[in-house]
Symmetry: D4
Subunit: 232 residues, 8 copies
């Protein structure tokens, strides 16, 4: 545990709502992220102000319109993608390093989650390419991108419904596949449970599963995988 992590004294009104993990970048090498869902605009304003004061690179995930407005009040120069419900500050991503992250969206309806993954990987310092609407119902569509897929250091596959695409992709490449199930689908998809189970049961090894609709988590994991190995 790092004692210096606690040297800054946050104002009491902030301590009543959050205990910012300012040590996280030092400890983990990746920026802080603020999960906005269930937080009030007032709470987000307090948090955003403190992060600006401390100059901490930060993502704000799952931000609805009101929540995004509150963050932008304090950090007007932040990047913002409403479809992905994501903000990031500062708006400029760091100089890319590590390997390529390819994000694959099985269907158009999976784009919001795929975009959240792509933005996250970029803010964490990776180059990215996004491929859209290449579900297994028309297999030639994903096979067309085989060279791109094989050039990636990590692949994020975002899929709802049957969630079958990660198994197919993982069977074709050497890189790990990060599988993100989405809540897209008919009733028996049970809000993402069906593709989640499909991905956990992939018959191809090398599939890393994250939470339903968690584009942020998928992009973060892919960015970690595609980092250069730790120096000796």
């Amino acid at each position: 545990m790092s004692p210096e992590a606690t040297s800054w004294q946050p104002p009491p009104e902030l301590r009543a709502v959050a205990d910012l993990d300012l040590d996280r970048t030092r400890r983990r090498g990746y920026p802080e992220a603020v999960y906005c869902e269930f937080k009030t605009p007032a709470q987000l304003r307090l948090i955003a102000a403190a992060l600006r004061e401390r100059q901490v690179r930060t993502l704000f995930t799952r931000a609805g319109a009101d929540q995004a407005a509150a963050v932008l009040d304090e950090l007007p120069e932040a990047g913002y993608d409403p479809e992905a419900r994501l903000l990031w500050w500062p708006a400029e991503s760091p100089e890319p390093s590590g390997g390529l992250v390819v994000i694959v969206a099985a269907g158009t309806s999976d784009l919001p989650v795929a975009t959240e993954a792509q933005r996250t990987a970029e803010v964490l310092g990776r180059r990215t390419v996004l491929v859209t609407d290449v579900g297994v119902a028309g297999l030639h569509r994903i096979l067309r991108h085989l060279d791109l897929l094989r050039s990636a250091a990590a692949i994020v596959v975002v899929a709802g419904m049957d969630g079958a695409l990660p198994s197919v992709v993982a069977g074709l490449v050497a890189a790990p596949v990060v599988a993100v199930p989405t809540s897209v689908g008919y009733g028996a998809a049970f809000e993402g449970l069906a593709p989640l189970l499909t991905m956990l049961n992939s018959c191809a090894p090398g599939v890393a599963v994250v939470n339903i609709d968690n584009g942020y988590g998928g992009g973060h994991l892919a960015a970690q995988i595609a980092a250069a190995p730790a120096p000796d």
Copy 2:
């Protein structure tokens, strides 16, 4: 309702355990089937004797060793496949009619269920071909059989784990795909729930789902679909 279906008077000891649907072939065009699980050998002997007396073509499904022995006591000339836990009487299948039924087993471990489907379709009067171990983790294996798949009037795809194969196959062919989930897999397959959900959520239309490990049901449905040859 057919009054003549009730003209035969079964012996009382049989009526105490079963009310054979001898009318089924006339009404539905397909043979009777006796589900052996949970039935005692004594009950099966009574049933088998009555079917022989009435000369009714019959399948016996889910027959364990003791149950199969009881059936064979009464119908020694019946066909029997222990791996598929299936018996059929008489042993000779009818002259094939209709279109081709192709059965596809995703993995070697799915073979017992796939074989049950194949035998059932044959007893119901269809020509069949079985293709084994062509899961989506090595996509070239199923693509190698594309011509065969496209010549089928109905395709049965048997798969456990991620259950992704029916979606891939259905996306390649005009014929209906009958998907049979199996209980093969690691813990989060939940005894077949995972592939069942995958198949119900297929992103390719044309997938007909039946019960977990129900090779009999899959073969039966395929035989019905293929009753007429596939249109050109």
Copy 3:
């Protein structure tokens, strides 16, 4: 895989949102379908415009009012059934071929899903008849239609609540029964889970189950099954 499928170059703004499977009719023999749920009106306009340009027969499923309006902006002459949330283009169905598809709705509340199935089967080239409100609580209602049911090459049975009707129908006919569970019912129907399980566990063989409320999938599968007329 067909190389010609990729000869047309879609505009970049379309490629950012969709990779249309224009090859599907050639490969599968059935028209393309666009799943509208979760898609924005802007995305749908791009897709509809491209389909019109390429003259591809298409269904648009699960279209809410705004989504339907976007499609009709680009394809004003498309057919549209708001209750079924379905559009189809061109509005004229092809000349019917194959066998008859009978659609059975267990209750009045199941009509939107049943209508979606009926429309789909017609757009795919089948003759259809729809029978309404014939649930098993009053058995004489379905028995009244026995001749019609026995004339079908495929029967779609749409039911919520106990989902018992497909078992009853399948026990009366030779043709395959496509069972579509709906989310109609009280709490322990669990949004369609109860009738889904009932249908998967049908004690009568010959029941093909599709996803909850998936009238499109049910109609598509029935149209495939009925592609050849029912055998005599």
Copy 4:
């Protein structure tokens, strides 16, 4: 609360394992029942001895072979049905009163549970008739018994798999239907969950559902309902 219920002082070794509800017959009008599952033979011997000493009419449910032997050690003259895993003491049922209880088993495999229900209703003082193997896959089988069904004051319907029979029966009669789901079926029956949900969601009112494989509970409830004869 009845103070006299506590006047008898059970021996300490009995009090360590059970607090017999000797007051139950007075309070509820029905005999005590001892649930044998999970109880040791030694515990059952203590209980049986006390019941004999107090001359309390009793059922012993879910008794495996060892457990039944322990009960018979103390109550050798008890009735015993190994298939139903049920014992009752004394072996003679009381003089029948009230209305008729008809027990219906959808399939032969449901017979152990149906028999448990029948025996229970008899021990509680009802006349019973058992009808076997009349599932909805062959509807004429249940319709053949319509007069019998309509003469009942209560009907117990025991079914696994799709559990559809109670809905069909309830739609034909005035008497309440007690539905007992069984664990008979393929994988997606989930050990009786599927028929349980079907029965809870019956589209015909008048279906009373009890626990999976709980023939005792079904017979008990039917005996209570039929305590008075069916109204004309």
Copy 5:
């Protein structure tokens, strides 16, 4: 099956939406019920008009404000309880017969479902008494009503949360207890699943379970059970 049930020819626009079970009263002895959820006001107007024309006593269940208004347009003299979302026509219940039905609501929040049960039992011809807010957290509240409970021919117990009240009541009386779980409760009640399971697992025999929030079903079943007065 009764041929006369089909002698009336409904207008075509009605046949397109419903197949009224006008035979039900003759066959089952209880009035028809129209489940309004998912039905449009236009459909309900057609149905209500036909029922008035045929003079069929009818309940309308799960009627929202718009749906109730549509029914009242055609049947302005119908009875209506908005809290219970129930209408009945004619407004006057038949002369009471049979035994007493006692309805017990565990908490104030369960009142809408309990009232639906009470109204239903009255329309079906039973005398009723409603007892409110007597959950097991304060046991003296239910014990205070012991004489009333023991005078009932059938008891409906409506409860959410832990659903424990039916077990307690059933242990005190001879009459059957109809248990209606409600969706009242915190998160782990899972919209009524928790009390549903509690009731199915009642350690006291004599508990008949119906669907979650199904006050109509509970009242109907109780009315059937109480058709004959409770035996002395």
Copy 6:
């Protein structure tokens, strides 16, 4: 049972909606609580008036804006925390007794539930301290409060998502940990099911689990545990 508990005669209009457990404080030592969800404002006004008349210390839980307004109409001097949806009357808590209750919120989004727990414990007579945003992703945050945690007689840990914090806290202290899962999280949290299961499976003994989002229940249990000061 206390006969005097029934001596007060509530007005009939109140008896129609509630049977207040005025005996509860005497019997259990803790104030009455009124669960407001699903209750109408009119019902709450009746209840609040009666409680004021009888001078019964009371909590009102799960009160939405309209429900809170109804309570405040009758008890304008009540305490009210809109975030926690809690009211209490009288507004002044009793003089603190017993040991310290520490409430720990894993994240800012868990604050409404944590505040409900804190308020409840105070109204029940305990001293409390609230610690916020100390989830296990940054372990130093909770370790910083080790002395405070070890001074508590009971600790309430409120957490959504992985629900891992109670296990970590319980492993560090002698006092019981009351774990309150929240519905905060991504899709596979399944509205609080995931943290609920985590807490039930804590590898550290001493974790007492209550219902999802049930801050009232957590605070109540902690107040009971801390009724006596922690032993030295």
Copy 7:
């Protein structure tokens, strides 16, 4: 964190299988417990030998016959209760302190879990009393013990099936109730899920739930709660 906790150097063969938390008694005030399920006899022998060498008071939970024999090889003087699958060493419990712990078993079948709870509380230094077979189906049985229940500082209620007893007990007393669901019951108990949910949804506050069949956890939590005597 206590550095001295690591001063003892375990032998390498022990480190390969376990990292004993010898610091636990100092940190938490309660003895170490070794969970035996899934451990091999060889592993348990290594662990038992180390604990004897370090003289650490220890419980061994979920020990089957082979596992118990392995522990007794190394710690022949340990206490052992085969029914509860529990061992404890040394065999003598510490001098009792704190308040009384009452353990209540709803049925005889719940005794193994109840005994595990009782033994655990005794090894942790509490006085205990065990009450057996007092389920809510015969309410007078639990009411008979009201004075004993009200003298307890903590009450452990062990119940399967409907799991209703903790709600009833909690409504009668001031002390916290620790509810332990068991896997005793018919099919819809789903191996303890039903009573678990019942207990989590208790309508009486003050119920602390632990894992299914976890008598050890229930006894441990109760011992912690009762560490200080109940307040007057």
Copy 8:
């Protein structure tokens, strides 16, 4: 797709049971694996013989005693770990490359799965270290290994019960954490469902989840993550 992958012609008896993916190493860079569960010894002998003939590096997972014996018949020089139910051929792992893989077992009972992960990573060419019994109930145990954890390129955390350890570890390091839930635990762990959900809901980003008890999958994914980046 690689045409040369199909140049070898397997013997017909092998083709009847398996279609070996001999192309996998070329396509994915990792050895073939044969899932032994559900395969017969005869099938495994055929497969093993073919792999030896083709000299393909292979893992055999989930091999019970009979299955392992069959493999060793054909490949007597293979490596074999009975606890992990794993075989690998040839026995010598390749020269290690890439970064370090640290495997962490939360408890002793998790060792079989952890060992399977460790062996797999070694056969795939990584250096490994295994740390045992460091669950979060005694947090100092995992913190003691912080330097080791931070030196890893990938960390596999194997845990049952609450599954909380991956969240804690991921919050401390930069490398991705591969989380493997196990079926170790009490009833409400539901055979691994509880830790699976915990891991999917980790509040620390960077957790990659695989299937329950899937040590092979966890080791494989970690080996991929810890490989050196693909050459340009």
